[in-house]
Amino acid sequence: MSAVMTIPTISRQQAIAIAEADALPVYRNLDDLTLEVSLHNDGWHVEYQMRKPRHAGGRPHYVIDAVTGEIVSKKYYQ
């Protein structure tokens, strides 16, 4: 029997805004990063990625509750 996914009340754009509001004060600048956003059973996965080869670069990853908008988990990668 497959898992039932809760209908999200937080939109993709809202999830991105929530992530960005948390990330910007910490990372100061997100301009060199791209976004990958996907909806999973545990919420929106908002993952910033860097596409520069041979660069050591950190970026944040978030899981955001798709109903409440709460940040369920986050990683500040360096």
């Binding site: 910490v26 990372y27 100061r28 600048n29 060199d32 990625q49 860097m50 520069k52 080869p53 041979r54 660069h55 050591a56 670069g57 950190g58 970026r59 986050k74 990683k75 500040y76 990668y77 360096q78």
Partner: protein
């Protein structure tokens, strides 16, 4: 057949490399939130003498460092890179190598060292792929 490169363990134990790690960590200003940034560089080996050398790259930013262009040292081969993760665990930063660091290291063909507040991590191959021969920079 090319001479084998030193292993990541051998490099990490080398006094020149240890000094380079310590200097990069200090220069990262890990205790200063305004000045904190990544530092790092490149590790080389001269196959004729066995000498291990280090060259620092330009200072990075809060959470990124450019390791694209290792300088060419006559007679030497690139055998590793290193960079610092100076942002503190206490305010939520993860000190460990990120998945992308692991991938970049594997694709580069040399071990990557990450210097953090809880110690040194290494990702990528155990030693330079293909040994001390071929391209002097990244072997892959």
């Amino acid at each position: 057949m090319n001479p084998e490169a030193p292993t990541a363990t051998e490099l990490q134990q080398h006094p020149t490399v240890q000094a380079a790690f310590a200097a990069a960590w200090a220069d990262s200003f890990p205790d200063d939130p305004a000045l904190r940034h990544e530092e790092g560089g490149y590790i080389y080996c001269d196959p004729t003498t066995g000498e291990v050398l280090v060259r620092r790259t330009l200072p990075g930013e809060l959470r990124v460092l450019d390791l694209t262009h290792p300088p060419k040292l006559p007679g030497c081969f690139l055998v590793g890179t290193y960079h610092t993760h100076p942002n503190p665990i206490a305010i939520g930063w993860d000190p460990e190598p990120i998945p992308a660091d692991r991938r970049e290291a594997q694709e580069s063909g040399v071990p990557w060292f990450v210097v953090s507040e809880i110690g040194v991590f290494v990702v990528g191959p155990d030693r330079r792929v293909g040994g001390l021969g071929g391209s002097a920079g990244y072997p892959l």
